[in-house]
Each structure stands twice: as C-alpha cells, then as structure tokens.
C-alpha cells in the first residue's frame, strides 16, 4: 500500500498498547513518517511525561502546541501538545461563558467530585478536545498517544458509559460527537502496539476484540515493535570465523562472541514464534519495527523507525475498496 493512501485513511490515529511496548516511540515514528509525506502532524499526549518530547530532543510538552520537528522542504512539521482533563475542562467552561468560576472549579478540587458523579468525564473532555482539533483541520493528521494498559479500554469505552449516565446537556452532546468520531473509520482508527513476547501479545489480542465489540472503533494494522533484526553469520564458531579471517582472538573473546550470538538467536526464534501466534489469534496485517540497540532514543532513532514503518506500510496489501490517496494534503474542512 502506498504510504500516502495509508496516512490519508483517517485523520485521527489513536496509538494504544500495554505499558512498556514502545507506544510513544511508535507515535513519534508515525508522525515523522506522515510529515515526510507532507502531512502536518500533531502528536497529542494525555499523560504528563517527557517521553515524546525527549524522542524529538525537545523540552517537555505543555497544553499549548509546540514544534517537535520543523518543516523542511517537502517535509511538513511535527507538532506536539498535551491534553490534560483539567486543561480541557477549563477551556470547555471558558468557551461556554463560564470563565468566572471555571478556575475555582478546578482549583477547589470540585473536579474530583464532578468526575466521580460522572466517571468518564475526564476521558470525554480529552477526546472532545481531540475531536475539536480534528474538526478545525489545523493538522492533516492527529496522532493520539493513548494512556497505557487496560486504561486504554476504559478510556475509549467510557464514552458509551457516560451516554448512559448523563442523558441530557452539553456533556451528553459532547459524548455523542466523540462516539461519532470514534466509530467513523474515515475519521478515526486505532493502531495497537505490542512486543513480540507472550504476555503483551495476549493483551493485544484481548484489547483488539474488546475495542471492536465495545466501542466499534476501526482497527488499523497492529505494530509489533522491537524485533531483533536478522543478522546472517551468527551460527559460525568464533574461533573458526577468526581463523578464516586470519586473526586470533584475545582470551575470553570467543565466549563473549558466542554468548551474544546465542542470545540473539534464541530471542529471535521466540519472537518469530510470537509473530506466528499473533497472526493466528488476530488475522490483521502486522507492521514490524526493529529493536534499536540503544537505551536512550533520540531524533535519529525516530527517523530510523519512521523509515522502517514506511517500508512495512509499502508491503501491506491494498484493501479492497480503499480510497486512492488525494493528490495533495486536504485543507481544513
């Protein structure tokens, strides 16, 4: 599938997965890939964490949009911001002519009581803000780095729960609008991320079924992150390989080389078994991203992941009935 076609499929992509699977890195890579296709992209974080900004080598994000990677030539800009419930509530109240007491509502902790009375209200405020950003058309693609683990399910299912609890009023209207967004595949899709390990694969499958059944959201391909790239030649005996190259190894060197080679081979074969298992359990296309042998990821790693993601997308089959990519990025609707 052509990268442009893939990226134009929906304007909001929610990236979700269990904690520690690299959701934030995948969000960053997707945003950078889109920017390289000329789409101005906004990445939204819902939890205060410096992870995303660090990937782009920037200071922590705030409620106000800031640039994560500038536009250059045909490459569009990647911007980032947070949407916190308190911030979204303040903005909502101010937009509805309730500025006078809005700060008090938040500062007195009344927000806690209100969100107890109608749980899911925080999630609605966040998703409501995402919806208004989508409507405003200020970005061609919005990537939402969703909250971790089981909370992603609560986050997305709370909309239906809230519709049941609050049957009238502005929150109800807001919840309806959000549900319209979530269930329209032309506007929103969910990209689930996992690691090629047993427990994360199980959780991904469970989440995928729950999201389809309980939210009715459209699932895009799943991302399997952190696969050891295949490396030929690891089966060789280090002493023999050294002899062949005409050198001799220092003491202990053969054991270190053999140990590292064995570790990679064993992990790689476990990973392949998990890929096959995932394919059995959830018949959707997989996008594979390589493990980056670095503990601290930065902009060059994001670019490497974006390039890998682009190649993976290119190898996806074109789904029947898919719309062709527009010639140019759509302007605000």
């Amino acid at each position: 599938m052509d990268a442009g076609q893939f990226l134009h499929a929906s304007r909001v992509v929610i990236v979700a997965g269990k904690g520690g699977v690299g959701k934030t890195a995948v969000s960053a890579a997707l945003a950078r890939m889109a920017a390289k296709e000329g789409l101005t992209t906004l990445v939204v974080q819902v939890e205060a964490s410096s992870g995303l900004a660090r990937l782009f080598g920037r200071p922590p994000l705030s409620y106000v949009e800031s640039s994560l990677a500038p536009a250059a030539g045909t490459v569009a800009e990647v911007r980032g911001r947070t949407i916190t419930p308190d911030g979204a509530l303040l903005e909502y109240l101010e937009d509805h002519g309730l500025r006078r007491i809005s700060r008090k509502l938040v500062s007195t902790g009344a927000m806690d009581v209100v969100s107890t009375a109608a749980p899911g209200i925080k999630d609605i405020l966040i998703l409501g803000k995402v919806k208004s950003l989508e409507r405003s058309g200020s970005a061609d693609l919005i990537v939402l780095d969703a909250p971790a683990a089981g909370h992603a399910i609560t986050f997305l299912t709370s909309v239906r729960g809230l519709l049941d609890a609050v049957r009238v009023g502005p929150i109800n209207a807001q919840a309806r609008d959000v549900l319209d967004l979530l269930t329209d595949p032309a506007r929103c899709s969910v990209m689930l991320v996992t690691l090629p390990e047993e427990t994360p694969v199980n959780e991904l499958v469970e989440t995928a079924f729950m999201l389809e059944d309980r939210v009715g959201v459209s699932l895009g391909p799943v991302v399997v992150n952190s696969l050891y790239p295949p490396l030929a030649g690891l089966d060789a005996d280090p002493e023999a390989a050294a002899a062949e190259a005409g050198v001799s190894l220092r003491p202990g060197e053969a054991e270190a080389l053999a140990g590292a080679a064995d570790f990679r081979r064993r992990r790689r074969s476990l990973q392949e078994a998990q890929l096959a298992r995932l394919d059995d359990l959830l018949p959707v296309p997989q996008l594979h991203l390589p493990h980056l042998f670095s503990a601290d990821l930065g902009p060059s790693h994001v670019d490497a992941l974006a390039a890998a993601l682009r190649l993976e997308v290119a190898s996806l089959p074109v789904p029947p009935g898919a719309r062709p990519a527009p010639a140019a990025a759509p302007q605000g609707r």
Partner: protein, 362 residues
C-alpha cells in the same frame, strides 16, 4: 553483581511488601517471586495482583485468580497464596461491613452514583488495594502480603487514600448535597449556588440527583470508612511495610521510578530495595566501541557479524548503566538487585525459581 542480603531480610521480616513501578517492567512476576521466596522461608505469604494476570495464574498452576486468595500447593515449609484484586467486590464488602442494616447496604449498592464510584472512579483501585492488604494482613493472618500496584502515576495514591477520602467527604459540594433538601441551597451563599448550578449545567441534573441519593444513603457510614482508612494509612506507614521499586533499565521507566522514589520521600517513606528487571546480559568486559571497529574491519565475514552483534548488546548494556546510575545513587543505601532479560519467557514455577536465584543468590 549479586544481591545484597537486604532483600532476604525484607522477605524474612516485613509484613507488607509493596512493589511499585511503571507498566511492563515485570512487577507482577517480581511480586510473585517475593511471595514464593517468603513461603520457602517458612512464611504464610500471599501475593495480590492488580492486573488480570492470567499468565501469573497459569505460572502458579491455578485456573484463575479471584478476589479471595487461592492456595498454591508446593514443597515448601510455609504457605503460598495468590489473589487478584477486584475493586468493585472489595468496595461492596466494605459497604456491607459498615452499613447499619441490610436496607442501607442495598440502597447504596443499587445506587448508580455508587456503581460509578466503585467501578470507575480513578483512585478507587488504589484505595481498595490498601483496604485489601489491610484485611489480608490484620484479619486473615497472612504474615507476608506482597502487593503489586497499578502501572500509573496514581499508584502511590493509596498512601494518602485516607486523606483523599476525607477531602472528598468534606468537600463543599458534598456538604451541600448532604443537606436534606435542595431548599437548603437557597440558604447558602450565592457563590456556592452558582457553583452547584454550574456543575449541574455541565453534567446534567440527573447526575446530581444520583449523587444526592448516594450521599444520603451513605449518611452515618462515613465515620466507619474514615476510621478504617486511618488504620490502612497506619499500616502503610508502619515500619513492617516496605516499598520495593521495580524498574527496567530504560530512561523512561527509570524516570518513572525516580518519580515514585520522590513521591515516597514526600510521604516520609523510603525505598527499601530497588529491583532492576530486564537487564540485557553482559558478555565479557569489553566496550562496544572496539567491537564496532572490529565489525567494520571484518565486515562481510562471519567474524564481522559476530562482532556487530556483540557491539549491539554491549552498547545496550552501556546505555543501561548510564540510565541507572542516578537512580541507584538516589535510593542508596537500599539494596539493588539485578535480574537479566531472560533468553526464554517465564512459564512456570521453575522460571520463578530461576528469577529468585538472581534476587536471593545466597
């Protein structure tokens, strides 16, 4: 490299071990290993997980974990039990326990606002985790309770759950709602009226009506809740309760662990031990730079591939040491134990025992 004896001392002497850390760092498995070690050392131990840890149930050889502990049989002198926290049933039990009669309990359990609180209120899970461990420790006579916490920043909220609950009950809005009739609202000051009107405008009056019904049904019970919360708080602050920080050696999870360490300090508690999971193995003592040079020199040959691979793992290991340096210094003198990223997945009790071998090498 080996774990200092501190971790054994904790398993032998602590009454409650709380494992904190971000998601995906192996907290649940670590909690199970600690409880298993307790049982092996003759203690009556229970591990409480927060996540629906089906995998842990399989590993322990029980069908499924529920809100009451299951006994795990094995050849150890102590006892091993395991359970999964069910926030809603724990809350229901608490309501039933503190109700004056069945009628009051039923009015609360059937209330929609209550169902919202018990199922979905953020912080309830943390509060109920505290409640459950109090019950296991004080009433069910477990002498070692190992609890895994939710993988969010709110995980440590249960340290001050009682303060939060009290704030909630004392809240102005709550007091307004607690008044017998809405007519009372006319008597309160204008600011408060505007406040309630706003809330009502935003969430709809139905929600406020539900809340009102809940608070009036709850009347008379809050003292019981408060007393209980204070006792849970006291147990968490007791010197027999120890907090164990679990992390993987990546900058983002280390940052979260550092955040937990500072939250504990704010509450005048300290990290009793640091467990570093998923450490990449160290192969020999060389540096990645030299390997990388050799990989390039022999590029295209099998030796080149072997060196490129070794360079990959050594550079990861170097990055891990860098990421961990600050945290290890920060929690000092707490013992630090390292568990390698295993070449195989954790499948059964033998695998847990294997991890225990890294935590308790003596």
């Amino acid at each position: 490299m080996s774990a200092p004896p501190g971790l054994s001392r904790l398993v032998d002497g602590a009454g409650v071990l709380v494992c904190c850390g971000s998601g995906g760092v192996g907290k649940t498995t670590t909690a199970a290993v600690l409880a298993l070690e307790g049982a092996k050392r003759g203690r009556r131990a229970v591990v409480v997980t927060i996540d629906p840890a089906k995998r842990l149930a399989d590993t322990l050889g029980v069908g499924a974990l529920s809100n009451t502990p299951s006994h795990i049989k094995g050849g150890w002198p102590g006892e091993l039990w395991a359970m999964m926290l069910d926030t809603k049933s724990t809350f229901d039990d608490l309501v039933t326990r503190h109700s004056e009669d069945e009628e009051q309990a039923r009015r609360i359990l059937d209330n929609r606002f209550y169902r919202n609180i018990s199922g979905a209120l953020s912080g309830t899970q943390e509060y109920m985790a505290g409640e459950k461990l109090y019950e296991l420790h004080e009433e069910d006579d477990f002498d070692l309770v190992v609890v895994d916490t939710p993988p969010t920043r709110a995980a440590l909220d249960f340290i001050d759950a009682s303060r939060r609950l009290t704030n909630f009950l004392d809240h102005r809005l709550y007091r307004l709602l607690m008044s017998p009739t809405r007519a009372y609202l006319r008597a309160v000051n204008l600011a408060a009226q505007a406040f309630v009107r706003t809330v009502s405008k935003v969430v709809g009056s139905e929600v406020l009506d539900d809340a009102l019904a809940f608070f009036s049904a709850f009347e008379g019970m809050e003292q019981g809740f408060r007393d209980r919360a204070a006792r849970v708080q006291a147990l968490l602050g007791d010197e027999a309760t120890a907090f164990i920080l679990v992390t993987s050696p990546r900058p983002d999870t280390v940052e979260e662990a550092t955040y937990f360490a500072s939250k504990l300090e704010e509450s005048e508690m300290s990290v009793a031990a640091l467990i570093l999971n998923r450490m990449h193995p160290r192969f020999g003592t060389g540096r990645s730079e030299g390997d990388r040079t050799r990989a390039e020199a022999y590029s295209g040959s099998a030796l080149g591939a072997l060196y490129a691979n070794l360079a990959d793992f050594r550079s990861v290991a170097e990055g891990e040491e860098l990421a961990l340096a600050g945290l290890s210094a920060r929690v000092s003198p707490a013992p630090v134990a390292r568990v390698p990223f295993l070449a195989d997945d954790v499948h059964d009790l033998d695998a847990l025992a294997h991890i225990a071998g890294h935590l308790f090498p003596e």
